[in-house]
């Protein structure tokens, strides 16, 4: 049984963004690295590694559709304990929407072969749609299990998981193969160990292009149904602070109430 964990590289949580007049976004992180593994995915990576450690998976393979720089994020996956990492990168995929991305991911999962579980994070901190996992499931024809907070059992071709919902938890069973997206209650991600980092930096990460895959359906900016028409930084908030002065508390409160009436707040 192979397990694939789909992960993407996102800007760091402390990155500072600039949007230029053409809607071009750039960022940097003065205190650290500008790009990191999507924080939600750390739980997915950890769970994939645990599937190998505790549930007899033979491989825990990290998979990213993205640019060459995304290799950094894949190295982190290897350093944490993934057995393999694959980057899918081709200009034909640039500017894909989530459906396009899902098509590529599904084709890559098919190429890997013998995958029983594809693990995802709940959402990505940048795109933030949470759509990719279900769209990949749809494309593969697998059962999507979302908001997974625990994997209870895997046996006889079935998987039983606990889902964490707003109002409580539910336990569901589905036949393999499945796509699962996990919430952060599922585990405590490990950090890359020193040994893992050494290994990761010696590993070679294969890069698959469009020519290596049989992608079903269109990809890229042209094919995107959702177009990023206008990207801009929100205008800075305007406001001012006024300190109410007065001899006594009562006087200050009276002035405050008058002011609030005046401004039509109450």
């Amino acid at each position: 049984m192979k397990v694939v964990v789909c992960t993407k590289q996102t800007p760091s949580t402390t990155a500072v963004f600039t949007v230029d007049a053409n809607g071009h976004v750039s960022w940097d992180d003065p205190g650290g690295k500008p790009n990191i593994v999507n924080p939600w995915d750390e739980y997915a990576i950890e769970e994939a590694i645990r599937l190998k450690e505790n549930h007899g998976a033979t491989d825990a393979i990290a998979l990213t559709v993205g640019s060459e720089e995304s290799k950094d994020a894949l190295k982190t996956c290897l350093a944490m304990g993934c057995t393999e990492a694959i980057l899918v990168s081709d200009s034909a995929f640039d500017g894909s929407d989530t459906v396009g991305t899902a098509r590529v991911l599904a084709a890559a999962i098919n190429k890997i072969g013998d995958v029983q579980i594809a693990v995802f994070g709940n959402r990505a901190i940048d795109g933030d749609t949470g759509l990719t996992p279900v769209q990949v499931a749809r494309k593969l024809g697998w059962t999507p299990l979302t908001y997974v907070s625990a994997i209870k059992e895997i046996s006889n071709g079935q998987i039983t998981v606990e889902r964490l919902l707003d109002d409580g938890k539910e336990t569901v069973t589905a036949p393999l193969p499945v796509v699962i997206s996990v919430v952060k209650e599922i585990n405590e991600p490990r950090y890359p160990s020193f040994m893992g980092i050494r290994k990761a930096n010696r590993a070679t990460i294969p890069v698959w292009t469009a020519a290596d895959l049989e992608v079903d359906g269109a990809t890229g900016a042209e094919a995107a149904k959702v177009n990023w028409g206008h990207v801009y930084a929100p205008p800075p908030r305007e406001g001012s602070v006024e300190i109410i002065e007065g001899e006594t508390i009562e006087e200050k409160v009276r002035k405050l109430v008058d002011k609030l009436f005046e401004e039509k707040v109450i």
Partner: protein
């Protein structure tokens, strides 16, 4: 800023250590400082699992087998922690009590003692100083008398970091009747040996999370097989080991100073006096920039030491200079940062008060400033004959 000596891999490793400090050390600092001790066995085991305790030691014994720049990264990141006590205790394990064992120990000794030091299964102390001999190491009196295949140890050691919880001590003791620096040996002493006891835990001005103890030896019998290197070579081995200790202290202090200065910048941005943020006073921002300049200069003296040491050069003089400068600069930084915090610098709610206390140690421990000056003077040929 990018430093050529650090590769992508070093930087990736830095992230791991930074996270370790943020999640496994910082959240517990208040508690450990209040308790005047931290759980060394628990924390060291976690570090051992991540491979952090033996980066430069041979892979054969569980170490990382990598260059010293990894150790630089580890120490720099530890130095950023919310206290100096725990990082110091860790550095005792990695840079003060084990370098001689790793370099001069036999295969059997390394199997027995270095392996658990690296895996975090054993906690180590370095036991050199005594009530009557700190700066003057050659004046130590603890004796290890020969009795067949055993040494019989009598005496006491003072200010021993990790002293109340150590499993092993790397002990410097006299193995012959000779005086001065002759006739000493480094011996590994298991603390479960009968006759060993912790006389007292010391109440300190700073580094509260680290336990410091007075140890007593009353006919403690250890096999001669626990002696590192030839008999009588202890002083020389310890002087070599001190070099690594000093470098570790300097590296941790540099990132500590930087953290204190940055905390002060943040505070001065927020705090307003006379209608404007403190940071807008030229005296304050100039002073901060002066300090940052000195920290930067010290950092590069230290990196220079690392580079040359890796190239096999004798850097005793330069390491002593760096240690001297670090001790003095840390005091200056601490004093200035507290000053710019005003009353808030004097209360425990702000971390700068702890930094002020902790920073004071560097000019004393690991060889006081004056001892460093003595080393420099010796290398300059201007130290008078005793």
């Amino acid at each position: 800023m990018k430093i050529a000596d650090f590769t992508e891999e070093h930087e990736m490793f830095r992230q791991t250590v930074r996270r370790f400090v943020e999640t496994e050390i910082n959240p517990h600092v208040e508690e450990w400082e209040a308790q005047r001790i931290f759980p060394a066995h628990e924390l060291f085991k976690k570090m051992g699992n991540l491979g952090l305790l033996g980066l430069t030691y041979p892979e054969e014994y569980g170490g990382g087998g990598v260059d010293y720049w990894y150790q630089v990264v580890l120490l720099e990141e530890l130095g950023r922690a919310d206290c100096a006590g725990v990082p110091m205790a860790i550095a005792v394990q990695t840079d003060m009590a084990t370098p001689a064992l790793a370099e001069f120990g036999t295969h059997e000794q390394k199997q027995k003692f270095l392996v658990p030091a690296i895996s975090g299964d054993a906690v180590f102390s370095i036991a050199v100083s005594e009530p009557d001999a700190g700066s003057d190491v050659a004046a130590i009196r603890t004796r290890a008398d020969s009795d067949g295949e055993m040494y019989v140890i009598n005496g006491s050691k003072m200010w021993i970091t990790n002293g109340t919880q150590a499993d092993y001590l790397t002990l410097l003791a006299r193995t012959s009747g000779e005086h001065g620096y002759r006739g000493m040996s480094l011996i590994i002493v298991p603390t479960d040996t009968p006759g060993f006891s912790v006389s007292r835990k010391l109440e300190k001005m700073g580094n509260h999370s680290s336990d410091t103890a007075i140890l007593s030896f009353d006919n403690v019998r250890v096999p001669k097989a626990n002696r590192i290197g030839p008999e009588g070579q202890g002083f020389i081995l310890q002087m070599k080991q001190f070099q690594r200790e000093r470098l570790a202290g300097v590296l941790m202090s540099i990132s500590g100073m930087e953290r204190a200065i940055r905390m002060t910048i943040d505070y001065c941005r927020q705090r307003k006096t006379f209608g404007k943020p403190l940071i807008e006073n030229q005296w304050i921002y100039f002073r901060i920039c002066e300090l940052l300049t000195e920290v930067e200069a010290l950092r590069h003296l230290t990196y220079h030491c690392v580079r040359e040491l890796l190239a096999g050069e004798d850097m005793t003089r330069e390491v002593a200079m760096a240690k001297l400068k670090a001790g003095r600069l840390a005091r200056e930084v601490a004093d200035t940062c507290v000053q710019f915090h005003g009353g808030m610098g004097y209360v425990e709610e702000y971390p700068i008060a702890r930094y002020f206390r902790d920073a004071r140690l560097l000019s004393i421990g690991g060889g006081a400033d004056e001892i460093m000056l003595g080393i420099v003077a010796k290398y300059e040929g201007i130290l008078p004959e005793r």
